[in-house]
Symmetry: C2
Subunit: 187 residues, 2 copies
């Protein structure tokens, strides 16, 4: 019943076995919250010509200052072909640039442009209002707590993604570092 099949990756740092201690599952709540945020984000982002996933992609790109398309796909956990379309959107508006990698000219290195960074900043500014609305039940300290918790998770998640993809661990370090320090958007 509550016997946790410890199957799967045993190689990972063994987690604290969820014993009889009532560990609540926040998956559903997280999903719910993300959904509510997304619903509002879409309308706010629309005038900027962006959609939520564009924002996620831009955020990742800013965080690591350029990335292989593959690495981006594995971080976003999206199919490669869909990433192409996503990047096409962004490139069409000059928000990103694709350069061929000097080492391996098959690869594309994706980078944020000036316009991209600016657009991202503006979007974040607009989203701040949305977050204020959705997270209205939390006071300032609570939001900071939430943020730091999410940040911990996200940081670790990136490691995991990169490990899975088994690409350069350099990227992992880069992303982890970028996510770790307070990255205050310019607004």
């Amino acid at each position: 019943m509550t016997s946790p099949p410890v199957v799967d990756q045993a190689d990972q740092a063994d987690q604290v076995e969820q014993v009889e201690q009532p560990v609540h599952r926040c998956g559903a709540l997280l999903e719910h919250l993300a959904r509510r945020l997304r619903l509002r984000s879409e309308s706010v982002l629309a005038p900027l010509g962006l959609r939520p996933r564009h924002l996620v992609a831009l955020t990742v790109l800013r965080a690591r200052g350029g990335s292989t398309q593959q690495a981006l796909a594995s971080t976003l956990e999206m199919d490669g072909t869909n990433v192409v379309g996503l990047l096409n959107d962004l490139e069409a508006e000059k928000l990103i640039e694709r350069r061929r990698s000097p080492e391996d000219r098959r690869r594309h290195i994706v980078e944020l442009t000036e316009a991209g960074a600016e657009r991202l900043a503006r979007a974040e500014c607009a989203l701040a209002a949305v977050e204020d609305e959705v997270l209205g039940a939390l006071d300032h300290d609570q939001r900071e707590t939430l943020f730091s918790l999410l940040q911990q998770v996200a940081t670790r998640g990136v490691e995991a993604a990169c490990v899975e993809a088994d690409t350069g661990s350099v990227e992992a370090a880069c992303m982890a570092e970028a996510a770790a320090h307070d990255e205050v958007p310019p607004c």
Copy 2:
């Protein structure tokens, strides 16, 4: 019940810029995280005959012991007709019960059944591995904190939905926020 003071835009703007410490934005973080969680959850939940949104609904129902269908719809921010389908799924498997409200017999009061609570618990147990994988960076206490924060936000949706329905123009709040920050050049 923190009973947040009814915020009008001016007050809110004042409060937002309260400190020099910037309010961090977790939108993209949340979105990304939720997506990763959902991708894994779906495969885990499938054998149980549940999908993520079912879990969300069950969780909300458990959080408050029973709810009007309308309240549920507004909390989930889903269209009423879609909620009907969702509840049909759940009722078909006896996970919830619909009772007519004694005061207004048009209304349905939705409640978790024994089987529903059990199934939910089992699903959460099954999701343990998934969450451990994604939330591995958090210890027990941190997860509890995260849970309580999320739940606070989630359950607030009841009142918020009504209030926002009347007062809420997201654009207004957005513009107020933007105006407050517009001193910064790039934004």
